[in-house]
Amino acid sequence: MEMHDAKRVSIVIEAPLESRLTDALTKAGVTGYTIMPVIGGSGRSGQWTRDGQVGRSGMVNVVCLIKPERLDGLLKAAFAVVEPHIGVVSVTDAQVLRAERF
């Protein structure tokens, strides 16, 4: 099957910032993203879990597949939102089917 190069950007960010991040991504021209739940974790700011939480707490994982040439724009947009906050941004090389979609 014909595959096309792409970048897979994964942003683990605090839940209250989710809509700010996706708005920024959309503004930066991202055509799609997928939001995946996170049930717990640990980092410099300590350990946490979703168990029994009532408010909009914890983190979510926003995953975005994009054409390699758009990576820098996306990262700048994401970084502007993530920068003052806790959260992790990582990028992996990927290949996608149906590249016309990205």
Binding site: E14, A15, P16, L17, R20, S45, G46, Q47, T49, R50, D51, G52, Q53, V54, G55, R56, S57, P84, H85, I86
Partner: protein, 327 residues
């Protein structure tokens, strides 16, 4: 004063408080007992809907009395004002920096609806009536404290006290405010007849649901306390107990001034004394990300919440009875 001890003892062995204690114990003992997030959220939706609806139905039954406006204004004053007192106290009593102090202050200006509910059920068990619209007062007190806190940070010149229109809308249209006010409106519109239709859902099993919810709160508070060990020094704990007393005192004054009856004054004290641990933390993560959540969450949920639940409520009731006279 035996009255007070009796009341406190009675309160302490209620299923509600003991469920909280069980949660606290489970967390401290590192048991894996936990309530799924979806169930905890479902219970909080149930509680907000029920308390809002009952408040509205009671307003529809007893009519809007002249003190409603006064009570709402008193609530606004408390929510806007308490953060300044809390901020000053924190800066004097503790080593917290401006941002952390402001973030904590926002929590104490806002309210804890579960403490409000627990107080209502203590008052009920004592046969003391309350004004239904105190629910609306609770709703208006959720947000203003956040604005005061952000102003305190901005005034200090530190960057990051970011309040934009998106955040303002988020705070005002926060899910719990919309649900509480909306259910209040539905209760007010459908009145006693509407209440009768759904009472077997929102009235009779209410206390039982509250027990499970407090079990969950106990688990979360306990785990938070464990995480925050070392962070929470004596001065902070002292603040977490002194501040509700100060808040309650001001709340009593304003409540009496507004012309509330005994039950209403106690609820006003409880609102002033309690600290938010749901809406405000989320807003702080957006607006004051530099502030340390471990501090404000531990203080509000780990220190002030259990204090109010166990000793605070009977104390406020006793004080109100002393100052205002039994009903």
């Amino acid at each position: 004063m035996t009255n007070l001890f009796e009341l406190a003892a009675n309160n302490l062995i209620s299923p509600i408080i003991l469920s909280f204690a069980l949660g606290l114990f489970g967390a401290m003992a590192r048991s894996d007992l936990s309530i799924p997030e979806a169930v905890a959220k479902g219970m909080s939706i149930y509680l907000l809907f029920a308390i809002g609806f009952k408040g509205g139905a009671s307003v529809s039954a007893h009519g809007i009395d002249a003190t409603l406006i006064a009570a709402v204004v008193a609530g606004l004053v408390l929510s806007f004002g308490i953060p300044f007192i809390a901020f000053a106290a924190l800066r004097i009593m503790t080593g917290l920096d401006r941002t952390d102090a402001a973030a904590v202050a926002a929590h104490y200006g806002s309210i804890s609806i579960v403490t409000f509910v627990a107080a209502t059920s203590v008052l009920e068990s004592q046969g003391i009536g309350t004004e239904g619209y105190m629910v609306a007062v609770a709703a208006v007190m959720e947000a203003p404290a956040i604005l005061s806190a952000l102003w305190l940070v901005a005034r200090g010149g530190s960057k990051g006290g970011g309040m934009d229109s998106a955040l303002l809308r988020e705070i005002m249209l926060n899910g719990s405010i919309v649900l509480l006010v909306g259910a209040f409106a539905i209760g007010a519109l459908t009145g006693e007849k509407g209440l009768a239709e759904i009472a077997p859902f929102i009235v009779t099993p209410f206390k039982g649901v509250l027990c499970l919810f407090l079990l969950d709160m106990g688990l979360i508070a306990g785990r938070g306390l464990q995480q925050a060990r070392g962070l929470i020094r004596f001065n902070l704990v002292a603040f977490g107990i002194a501040m509700p007393l100060v808040g309650a005192a001001i709340g009593m004054a304003l409540g009496a001034l507004a012309g509330l009856n005994l039950g209403g004054v106690v609820l006003m004290m409880v609102l002033a004394a309690s600290a938010s641990y749901i809406a405000v933390p989320a807003a702080m993560r957006v607006a004051l990300p530099q502030a340390n959540p471990a501090i404000y969450l531990t203080l509000s949920l780990g220190v002030t919440f259990p204090f109010n639940l166990t000793l605070g409520i009977p104390l406020y009731l006793a004080a109100a009875q002393l100052m205002i006279g039994a009903n």
